[in-house]
Structures are given as structure tokens and as C-alpha cells.
């Protein structure tokens, strides 16, 4: 058996490794198929059916995320039947979805909203019962609004398959089914460690970052990819910036070390940046009290004192604690400052602590 298969997708010949799904094959060929429950890092339940396609010789419309590409397959991703099926799926999802896009935190990044727009579905075909779940904002980090949940199950799977914690599983039956914590307690009372992975995969406004509520619309936020300032793993993420302020941290799927995974400190530990305790002026102690000073005064005083000590007691009476929190460039300069400017090798940092 060959390890490659060749199929035709929308008239385009595509050769992919055996075992590739039709969805992956299409994406490899640059053909976009909408998905809600699929995630390349997680198992595929084939639940939402939005990724249905037409395959010659098959009676129904199979879900492309769980259909293996076969040699000689002829696939159509945009036939009238496919479009019709997708529209119906979106209609059904909207039938009980809160119509509060105007104020929803996810607006602009919501997959359901995006697909409804793309397929021209207004959500006025079916008028179903609405869900009435209480909103869980019991903790400082994650808001759970299960009325907006479309049961894609990604939060359940990312927590189990990537984080290994299984905080959520599906609870209740039928229309009332929701991903819930054990005994459906608020998140604050569960074993959750608030890594926020569930928020990073949620396609709708069901799971959102509490601290980012009301700070701005997604299209107003500038995203700056950077490296986390906490531990030595070196996770990358996007600082979300608006009007010169860091208003949030979100995953960046391109992060080499961590992908979308972050821990509670990386994702939610950023508000020290604008904390009112931040030092904003140099301080000089006079008679036991700190007084604000200009940079010039402070720098000149330090330079003078260091020179004085060096002259009187020699360079080894001076020392530098450099920092495992500072950048490489800054540590390099601190090392150069100690050795070339002060004239001592008395430089160390908290590597041992």
C-alpha cells in the first residue's frame, strides 16, 4: 500500500500522506473549510458537522474532519448541498444563542458570528427555547457563560488531553447539556488551576478572560508577540495593547515552545505592569526619607559615590547584583559595567536561589 494518496478537491489534485483527513488535505491545498469543534491539537469528535463536504459515491455529506482521504476521492467543499447543510447547522446553533453580539466580549473573534456572516445566516429561521444558565464569574480570571456554549467540547478536550486535568466533562442531558465541573460547582470551587487553555480554544463567548471584559474590541487591540517574564520555560504570547496600556494577554498559536498553552501567571499575571506601586521617578534618600529626584541628580550621585568608594577602597569594595529578570542585552551591559567600568569581577545574580 502506498504511503501517499491523491484526491481531487474542488477540481484541484492534492497528494497527501495516507491517513490524512479530508479536512487536513483541503487545508494543505489552501482550501478553507469551516469548523467549530475541530482543533488540530485535539482529538476530533466530528460533532458540529459544519465541516461537511460532498464526496462522490458517498450517500450522505460526511464530516471532513473525521473522514480519511482516499486515493481517487472526488471532494466538493462548496456544492449547493454542502452550503445548505452548513446554513442549517448555523441556523440551529443560533436558534438558542443569545442575540447580544453588540455587547459580547467575543464579537470580532467569534467563530459562530464569523460563519453566520459568511453564510448569510440571520438566525431568524427557528425560534427555539433559550437557555437560562447562571453566569459563573466566581474567580478572577475566567467568565463562563454557558448560554453561549455551542457544545463543541474543545474546553473538555483541551483540559483532558493537553492539560491532563479534566476539570470539565459534559453534564446533564439533551438541550441542557453543558461542559461542567465535577458536581457543576463554580470554577473557583473546582480543582481548576486557571491556565486558561479552555478560553484560548473556545470558539464563542462562552469562555472569556474576565480581566479583558470591557477593555476594548478585538479589532482595537494591537497584539505584540513577546516572551513571558515569569519562569524559565520561555512561553511566548501576545500582549494586547490599547491606548498605550497592556490590557490583556492572549495565546499566540505560533509560539514555538508552548503553542497556545500558558499558565495562570503568564496569561493572567500581567497587571503588575500598570500597578500604582510602579516607581516612576528616581528616589534619593535624605535624612532617612526618599525624595523624588531627576535622572541627572540620581545618576550623578551614584557615579560620584561609586567613584569615591573605588578610589578609597579599591574596585573590589564594589559589587553588582545583576538580574535573572532582565534581558540578555541588559545582563551583558551589567557585566561590562562591573568589569570594565567599576573594575571588579564582583558580579552575580540569583541563579542559585
Amino acid at each position: 500500500m502506498s504511503d501517499k494518496v491523491t484526491l481531487t478537491i474542488d477540481g484541484q489534485q492534492v497528494t497527501v500522506p495516507a491517513g490524512t483527513t479530508v479536512l487536513q488535505a483541503a487545508r494543505m491545498a489552501g482550501i478553507e473549510i469551516p469548523t467549530l469543534c475541530h482543533d488540530p491539537e485535539l482529538t476530533s469528535p466530528g460533532a458540529c458537522r459544519l465541516c461537511v463536504v460532498e464526496i462522490e459515491g458517498m450517500r450522505n455529506l460526511p464530516a471532513s474532519c473525521v473522514t480519511t482521504a482516499g486515493d481517487g476521492m472526488v471532494v466538493r467543499t462548496n456544492s449547493p448541498d454542502v452550503i445548505e447543510a452548513r446554513k442549517t447547522i448555523i441556523e440551529l446553533l443560533l436558534a438558542n444563542h443569545p442575540e447580544d453580539c453588540l455587547t459580547c466580549e467575543r464579537t470580532g473573534q467569534c467563530r459562530l458570528q464569523e460563519y453566520a456572516y459568511h453564510y448569510g445566516v440571520k438566525g431568524d429561521t427557528f425560534h427555539g427555547e433559550r437557555k437560562q444558565f447562571p453566569i459563573d464569574d466566581s474567580n478572577p480570571f475566567i467568565v463562563r457563560d454557558m448560554n453561549k456554549c455551542i457544545r463543541c467540547g474543545k474546553c473538555v478536550r483541551v483540559c483532558e488531553e493537553v492539560q491532563g486535568r479534566s476539570i470539565y466533562s459534559f453534564a446533564y442531558r439533551g438541550f441542557d447539556t453543558i461542559p461542567a465541573t465535577a458536581m457543576d460547582t463554580p470554577l473557583a470551587e473546582s480543582e481548576c488551576v486557571f491556565c486558561g487553555s479552555c478560553v484560548s480554544v473556545c470558539p464563542t463567548g462562552a469562555l472569556t478572560e474576565k480581566m479583558m471584559h470591557g477593555v476594548g474590541r478585538s479589532w482595537e487591540l494591537e497584539k505584540v508577540k513577546t516572551t513571558c517574564p515569569y519562569c524559565g520555560v520561555g512561553c511566548n504570547f501576545d500582549l494586547n495593547v490599547k491606548d498605550g496600556k497592556v490590557v490583556g494577554v492572549t495565546s499566540n498559536a505560533e509560539a514555538e515552545v508552548n503553542g497556545r498553552a500558558l499558565c495562570v501567571k503568564g496569561r493572567f499575571g500581567y497587571n503588575f505592569i500598570h500597578h500604582p506601586d510602579r516607581l516612576t521617578k528616581p528616589l534619593i534618600k535624605k535624612n532617612g526619607e526618599f525624595q523624588e529626584a531627576t535622572w541627572e541628580e540620581a545618576i550623578n550621585l551614584v557615579a560620584e559615590k561609586f567613584k569615591e568608594i573605588k578610589q578609597e577602597h579599591g574596585p573590589d569594595a564594589l559589587a553588582v547584583f545583576t538580574s535573572a529578570r532582565c534581558t540578555n542585552e541588559e545582563n551583558y551591559l551589567a557585566n561590562k559595567f562591573a568589569r570594565a567600568v567599576l573594575g571588579t569581577n564582583n558580579i552575580d545574580h540569583c541563579a542559585r536561589l
Binding site: P229, V233, G269, N271, K281, V302, A303, T327
Partner: protein, 526 residues
């Protein structure tokens, strides 16, 4: 780390010793979970039943400070049962006979007496590691923060060389570095004995190279480590100290000694984001910009250099540390005129062989793992392939020693210290991150139910903990996760100033303090 973070997932046997990975390196711990899911054996060795032990095949709950006995007994079993990799030992190493001699008496039964671990468990773990195809050892400060910290690491290296579990993908010796840029601070010469790239200050040829690069005469004398600086300050020999982004009052052992040392200085300058406990003692405080306010690079635990990007302007009149250091150098008559961190990196490229090919242009696309000697070099995912950095891998005969302090009648408990998931180091950042402080507002002392019963305390009760150096008050949390006789707390909280208790006795080689064990007494506060 000799290997990359993602390579952990590909190991078939993981010994995680002295690392509370899910709390201290949460995202890296996902790779351990992945390996376990794919069938790897996981052995966790830790005096506490840490969370990682819950997914382990074996949890070795050895006595705090007994790591060396455990490691040497494993080496004993591997040699005794002829499980060592003869080809690797012959081709790639030297000093094998010394280790054979050193561990001859280290039977699992002997180790059982010191570690409290069943001899057959030690045998089973040693066999598992030796027979694995891709065994890897992960460790952190649980191994190093002892007076025998260096020897503990050498004992780990012995095991890796005995079994040939090094120099290949997925298999090696992997210390998980603690702080975001502790690797980089070491790489960049933030150590008293080496210039950037671990080039020794007492090597005349190296010194000459840096004298030329920096245009000044340089001192040949190895400098002082952090702990020695404090000793010298107390002795009146160190007069002026410049502290950049550190808070030794909270982080260093035996805080009362540190405070005295700091107060004895003629002149203390602290450069930080906040008025930390250390900054409060300073003569001059310089306001620094945070990571969000500057460009630069951090080097992570797998030697990967990655970009830090400026997202906002510095808060108030604060400035990035590099600008402040440059201003100071100029004021002292040494001209520095870097226009950007990128320009500093260009100088780093020239003087640091491992960083020779790490340029901002390349980092824009992806991180690079050193050694990366030139711009055509793709970086290095794992070290020691084919041969060790020094040529042959050297075995070291290392022997068990008792911790500096062991429990006695007056101080009957062992105290061990570490970190919690929700906070970081001295808390200067994490304790000002509102949500983190909400979910984890105060520290507690972990205590075994047996000890709690003896002391008549319950979770939430406050106790006074006293060591030979100081005392603190702290609430107790009674938990089976800790063994009788041992108590544990983190050092993040000023209100429960744990480092007032810890012992500043240091490893003679690495000068690392023995944070992981000290003797204390505990009394209920009525």
C-alpha cells in the same frame, strides 16, 4: 538542559527528581504528561507527594537531603547487575573505575537506611532507567540547593553516562532553570568567575580578548558570589552595592544576616520596578521599565534565545535597565553609546562564541538555541552528540554527606522551601497581579497529620517556627502530601518571611545555599 523541552515528550523513562514541575514549570510539565500518555514510565523522587507524583508509576518519597544516597545506590545497582552501557562507557567516558569504587558500598539496603525508601524500589527504578531506550532525568533546586548540590548533579551525570542516556534526542540531563532569564544572565557573564559565554576571568588569553574588546585593563581576580558579597558587607569589606532587579532581602537565605549586611554598606543602589524590601534600604532607587516596555531577548531553560518586544512606553519616568546602566557608565567616564538592544546584541555576537549567530534578524522569525556560532548555524537542539564539550565525559566519585543541619532535640523538624504555582520568587510582580493575589493571598506551612496531632494544631492554626537564625509565624495546612518530620513553605511572602529561617550554609563549589533543609522547632501560637 542538554535537550529541548519538546524532547521530553519522546522519552520512554523519566526520572523527575527534586522538581515540582507542575507548579514551577507548568507549561513544561505538559510534555511530561504527554510522554506518560504515550507510555513512558515516570518516576518522581520528592520528599513531598507533589502533584506530578499523582501520574507517576513510582513515587520515591525519600528523606529531604538524601538524594545522593538514592542516586549512588542506583549507580550501584546498574554496575552490580551489569546493566551499564559498556560501549558508551568505553568510547565516551573516563574515570569509570573511580565511580565503581565510590558506589561499591552504596547498596540499596544502605541507601534504604538513609533515604527511608525500600531497597527493592531503588533496584526497580535503577533497572528501569538503565534498560530504557531514551531515559531522561529532570531536576531543579531540590537537587542543587544543598551543601552537596554540585555533587548531586555529578551523581546524576554519572547515571546518565553509565547508561549512555545522553547525547541523543530525548535523552539527557535536564536541569529546569527557574527564572525567565536565569540562563541568559549566566550566559552573559552575570557570574563572578566568567565573562559572557563562560570564558574564565582568570584565563589570560580570554582576559586579553575582553580587554581589547572593551578597551580597558581587567581584573584577573575571580569575584564574589551573592552570599560572599553579604559576608563581605558584614565584615565591612564591601562598601557599595548596585542591585538590579533583585530582592535579596526576601530571596536570600538567613534574611536577618542579609539585612545586617545591607545596612552595613556605605552606599546601596537598587534599580527595580517597585519599592521592594531591598529597595527600602537603598540610598538611591532607580525606576526600571518592565518587560512590556522594552526590546531585548530572554534565553529559556532549553538555551533558546527569544525576542522580548516593546509593547508600550515606559511607565512614568522609568527607563529600561540597559539605558540606565549606559547612563551610569557614561557618568563614570566610560563611554557607552548603544542606540538599541539590537546594537548590544551585535557586540554580544562578537565576544560570545555560543551566541555568534544569534541576530535580531534571525530571531524575528524564530528562537535560536545556543550553541549557535555563526549566522548559518541552525542552533543546537541537544548537547553532547558524538562527543562531550570537554571531549570525554568524566565520571566523578561523589559520596553522601549529611545536610549541614539535621533535626535534633531542640529543633526537631526539617524545613524545606520552594515555590507555588500562583506566585513568583519574592512576589514583587505576582503579588501585585490582582487575580493571583486573590486566589493565593497567604502562605501556609505544610505539615503531616501525625505531626499536627502531636503539636495539637489543625489547618488554619498559626504556629511559630524557629530556627537557629530567626522566627516567623505562619498558618498550618495539614496534608498527607508531606512526610512526618518535614514541613514545607514557599518564600514568596513577606508576611511569612521564610528565609529568616533558612540556612546560608553553602555548597563549597557552586556556593548555592542549603534552602532545601534546615532544622526548626514549631510551637502553636495561642
Amino acid at each position: 538542559m542538554t535537550n529541548s523541552i519538546h524532547e521530553i515528550a519522546g522519552a520512554d523513562f523519566i526520572l523527575a527528581i527534586g522538581t515540582n514541575t507542575t507548579e514551577t514549570h507548568p507549561v513544561l510539565s505538559l510534555q511530561i504528561r504527554k510522554a506518560v500518555k504515550e507510555g513512558a514510565k515516570l518516576v518522581v523522587a520528592d520528599p513531598r507527594r507533589i502533584e506530578l507524583a499523582d501520574i507517576a508509576d513510582v513515587h520515591i518519597q525519600h528523606k529531604a537531603g538524601s538524594d545522593m544516597a538514592l542516586l549512588n545506590a542506583m549507580a550501584h545497582v546498574i554496575i552490580e547487575e551489569d546493566l551499564y552501557n559498556k560501549e558508551f562507557v568505553k568510547e565516551r567516558t573516563e574515570g569509570f573505575e573511580e565511580v565503581v569504587e565510590a558506589v561499591k558500598e552504596c547498596t540499596p539496603e544502605w541507601a534504604a537506611g538513609i533515604t527511608g525508601v525500600d531497597a527493592d524500589t531503588i533496584r526497580e527504578v535503577a533497572r528501569g532507567y538503565a534498560r530504557a531506550e531514551k531515559g531522561t532525568i529532570l531536576y531543579t533546586m531540590g537537587i542543587t540547593q544543598h551543601i552537596c548540590g554540585t555533587d548531586n548533579v555529578l551523581a546524576i551525570a554519572n547515571l546518565a553516562m553509565l547508561t549512555g542516556h545522553i547525547g541523543r534526542e530525548n535523552t539527557g540531563v535536564n536541569p529546569l532553570r527557574g527564572q525567565n532569564n536565569v540562563q541568559g544572565a549566566c550566559d552573559m557573564g552575570g557570574l563572578p568567575n566568567v565573562y559572557p559565554g563562560y570564558q574564565r576571568v582568570d584565563d589570560p588569553a580570554v582576559r586579553e580578548k575582553f580587554e581589547k574588546a572593551w578597551g580597558v585593563k581587567l581584573s584577573p581576580k575571580v569575584g564574589l558570589t551573592v552570599g560572599e558579597m553579604m559576608d563581605n558587607a558584614l565584615a565591612g569589606k564591601l562598601k557599595g552595592l548596585f542591585v538590579i532587579g533583585e530582592n535579596p532581602l526576601i530571596s536570600d537565605p538567613d534574611s536577618n544576616h542579609v539585612i545586617e549586611g545591607m545596612k552595613k554598606l556605605d552606599f546601596l543602589v537598587v534599580q527595580d520596578l517597585f519599592l521592594t524590601e531591598t529597595a527600602e534600604l537603598a540610598d538611591v532607587v532607580l525606576p526600571a521599565a518592565s518587560f512590556a516596555e522594552k526590546d531585548g531577548t530572554f534565553t529559556n531553560t532549553e538555551r533558546r534565545v527569544q525576542r522580548v518586544r516593546k509593547a508600550i512606553e515606559p511607565i512614568g519616568d522609568s527607563k529600561p535597565d540597559w539605558e540606565i546602566i549606559q547612563m551610569l557608565a557614561n557618568a563614570m567616564g566610560y563611554p557607552m553609546n548603544y542606540s538599541s538592544p539590537e546594537e548590544i546584541m551585535k557586540e554580544i555576537n562578537e565576544v560570545t562564541p555560543q551566541y555568534g549567530g544569534i541576530t535580531y534578524e534571525r530571531l524575528e522569525k524564530q528562537g535560536l538555541q545556543w550553541p549557535c556560532p555563526d549566522t548559518d548555524h541552525p542552533g543546537t537542539r541537544f548537547l553532547h552528540e558524538g562527543k562531550f564539550a570537554r571531549g570525554k565525559g568524566k565520571f566523578h566519585a561523589v559520596r553522601y554527606v549529611d545536610p549541614d543541619e539535621t533535626p535534633d532535640q531542640e529543633y526537631p523538624f526539617m524545613l524545606s522551601t520552594g515555590r507555588r504555582l500562583f506566585h513568583y520568587h519574592t512576589g514583587s510582580m505576582s503579588r501585585r497581579a490582582e487575580g493571583l493575589e486573590t486566589v493565593y493571598p497567604e502562605e501556609y506551612l505544610e505539615m503531616n497529620p501525625q505531626d499536627a496531632e502531636k503539636l495539637g494544631v489543625q489547618s488554619g492554626d498559626r504556629v511559630k517556627v524557629t530556627s537557629r537564625r530567626g522566627e516567623i509565624e505562619i498558618p498550618v495546612r495539614v496534608t498527607e502530601r508531606i512526610q512526618p518530620g518535614l514541613v514545607f513553605a514557599s518564600f514568596h511572602f513577606r508576611e511569612t518571611w521564610v528565609n529568616k529561617l533558612t540556612n546560608s550554609a553553602r555548597d563549597p563549589k557552586a556556593k548555592i545555599p542549603e534552602y532545601k533543609v534546615c532544622a526548626v522547632k514549631i510551637e502553636k501560637v495561642s
